[in-house]
């Protein structure tokens, strides 16, 4: 039996008078894909921001193995092997595609300011660049290595962001709505990519609206609603949970007659 790798314990976060996340706990085991779903404004991205250290939780605790993440700044969290992508793609717009991926290698580099100034990091630099190039080839963007990142179409920008996150060789990968802006073919390819990532012993946390993707790749689903955990379980259990259906589809459940709340 695998022990939990990431544990979120009674997390709480409010902005002014608005409670974004209330008493949410969940666990993720090694090489598990955990999907976090819920209507817009349910607190999914806030949860991600707390795990990646961008927002400190008001209360509760996040542990990665034996490390507490909730009191660490984002760069320390990243250096422990947590990588992420963003709902609104956050690429380095002033850099080329290849340079964006080399930034993913940042936590594995050693050359500081002084060693760089003295020109002692050339070998490391070559290694970083070739490792980044390999990542780019894997996502099929190698021929665009020297283009500026913002010149890519949105689908490829998401792929690039994923390549950058993977270049970090993370233990936990947080994907925030990775299919937003992707077409059907790209979404199918993304599902395959996620399965491959999982096969490489990486735990994946996935915020996603595309239920087909969630049902096909997730091992465990956590449902949030109004900042609270509504349900969790295997994808099939969750799909048939009446509370989940109510939150998603409105009061009286009809087959697909969706009137999702809060839109």
């Amino acid at each position: 039996m695998n022990r939990a790798m990431l544990r979120a314990h009674h997390l709480h976060k409010s902005f002014g008078g608005v409670t974004a996340v209330r008493d949410v706990s969940f666990e993720a085991r090694p090489s598990q894909v955990v999907a976090i779903i819920g209507p817009n404004g349910a607190g999914k991205t806030t949860l991600f921001n707390m795990i990646s250290g961008i927002l400190p939780p008001d209360d509760g605790e996040i542990r990665l193995n034996n490390h507490r993440l909730d009191c660490l700044p984002p760069h320390k969290v990243a250096s422990l092997g947590v990588a992420r992508t963003f709902q609104n793609v956050q690429l380095f717009g002033n850099m080329t595609v290849l340079e964006n991926v080399t930034m993913g290698r940042y936590r594995h580099g050693r050359g500081g300011l002084l060693r760089s100034a003295l020109g002692l990091t050339r070998r490391e630099e070559r290694e970083i660049r070739s490792a980044a190039m390999r990542r780019l080839k894997r996502v099929g963007l190698a021929d665009k290595a020297d283009l500026l990142a913002p010149s890519l179409p949105l689908g490829e920008q998401r792929l690039l962001e994923l390549a950058r996150a993977l270049a970090a060789e993370p233990r936990i990968l947080l994907l925030d709505e990775p299919t937003a802006g992707l077409n059907t073919v790209e979404t199918v390819r993304l599902a395959a990519t996620i399965s491959r990532i999982q096969a490489n012993d990486v735990t994946v946390l996935l915020v996603e609206h595309d239920m087909n993707l969630v049902m096909s790749v997730a091992d465990w689903v956590v449902v949030l609603d109004y900042g609270e955990k509504l349900a969790e379980g295997r994808p099939r259990e969750v799909r048939n949970d009446p509370r989940v259906i109510e939150a998603y589809l409105g009061q009286e459940n009809g087959n697909g007659a969706a009137s999702g709340r809060g839109r």
């Binding site: 700044p73 760069h75 956050q90 380095f92 002033n94 340079e99 290698r105 760089s116 020297d146 950058r164």
Partner: protein, 355 residues
């Protein structure tokens, strides 16, 4: 596309090659230029290049403005002068001491100052500059007060002193070349990329593990060490120091040099330093002939106009601006990817044409 990829993988030699060409041109200059006056100006351009290189890193890569950099310059000069003229230490030791002192001071003030952002940070550095300036004029027992310190020895190696302009020219530009090389190395390294990444997206930079606050503070320290080095070289060249060159005015001039040359590339430093220094000298010669009883304040107007023109027509600075103009003229199309790198690339061609 293929040639760009090659350039990316073989970028290190190309960058040294460019610098080598630059150094060669400078090394040949004294063969043609014999005037002591012109060599003195060139020495000052060299000192200003060292200072501006640090400021370019700070402004262009760490995204911070220092309005007190003349104070670090002064600290370096005074540390060298006091160590050698008062305590009789070796000038080389004095040089190392001034770099250590300025670096140490920058490290100490970086901690509170870098909690501030934007204009507040600039104001804090301005305040720091004034405090140091007042220290130079008031702590007379140590600094000699407004009249300064005399009797600073020349730097020398085994009895061979850097006492003539030609010798000092080679010393200063040798150091300036090393500073430029160090800066180019930084810019093209993992940390240099991280600094650019902070401009692109600070939150993404942090999410890949960049400690943004620490990196910015480190660049601040490096730029202060450069300034200390330049200050020490200044003291051993003139052999005396007084407070007047290290005031607010010169801090602003340094920001002008960096902005005119362009902060997005390290090459902005020598070009910005040269333009502003030469213009200062030209104005000093021309203005009194045009206007009676004219003094320093007219220079300010000229620099204000220069800065405005550069910001309007070449907001990236003269180096980048001119290379873009040249590339467009040469190829008949605008510059696209990798602006900084491309600018350097075309600068090479540009330098080749000049040489």
């Amino acid at each position: 596309m293929a040639d760009l990829t090659t350039d990316l993988t073989h970028r290190l030699p190309a960058r040294y090659w460019r610098l080598g060409l630059f150094v060669l041109l400078l090394a040949l200059l004294p063969v043609f230029v014999r005037s002591s006056y012109l060599l003195t100006i060139m020495i000052f351009i060299g000192l200003h290049t060292i200072l501006t290189a640090g400021l370019c890193l700070l402004m262009g890569y760490a995204g911070q403005v220092s309005l007190g950099h003349a104070a670090f310059y002064g600290l370096g000069a005074y540390a060298s002068a006091i160590a050698t003229a008062r305590y009789g230490l070796s000038p080389w030791l004095g040089l190392l001491l001034s770099m250590a002192l300025t670096g140490g001071v920058a490290l100490v003030i970086a901690w509170p100052i870098f909690k501030l952002k934007g204009h507040y940070l600039a104001m804090a550095t301005l305040g720091f500059g004034y405090i140091i300036y007042i220290f130079f004029t008031e702590a007379a027992s140590l600094t000699g007060g407004p009249s300064g310190l005399t009797g600073v020895p020349y730097l020398s190696i085994a009895g061979w002193a850097f006492d003539r302009d030609v010798r000092y020219y080679y010393l200063v530009w040798g150091v300036a070349a090393m500073v430029l090389m160090a800066s180019l190395n930084i810019v093209n390294s993992r940390v240099g990329r991280a600094l650019r990444a902070i401009h692109g997206s600070e939150v993404a930079a942090q999410s890949v593990g960049v400690n943004t606050a620490r990196l910015k503070a480190q660049v601040f320290v490096i730029s202060a060490v450069y300034a200390g080095l330049a200050g020490s070289l200044y003291a051993h060249y003139l052999t005396f120091v007084n407070p007047s060159p290290f005031g607010f005015h010169f801090s602003v001039m340094l920001v002008v040099m960096a902005s005119v040359g362009g902060v997005a590339t390290v090459w902005g430093a020598p070009f910005g330093a040269a333009m502003v220094t030469l213009l200062t000298e030209a104005l000093r010669a021309v203005v009194p002939r045009l206007l009676d009883r004219a003094s320093g304040e007219y220079e300010i107007i000229a620099f204000g106009v220069l800065l405005m023109l550069v910001m309007i027509f070449m907001p990236q600075g003269v180096v980048q601006g001119l290379t873009e103009v040249y590339t467009r003229w040469r190829r008949g199309r605008p510059v696209a990817a990798r602006p900084a790198g491309k600018a350097l690339l075309s600068l090479r061609r540009w330098l080749r044409v000049k040489g």
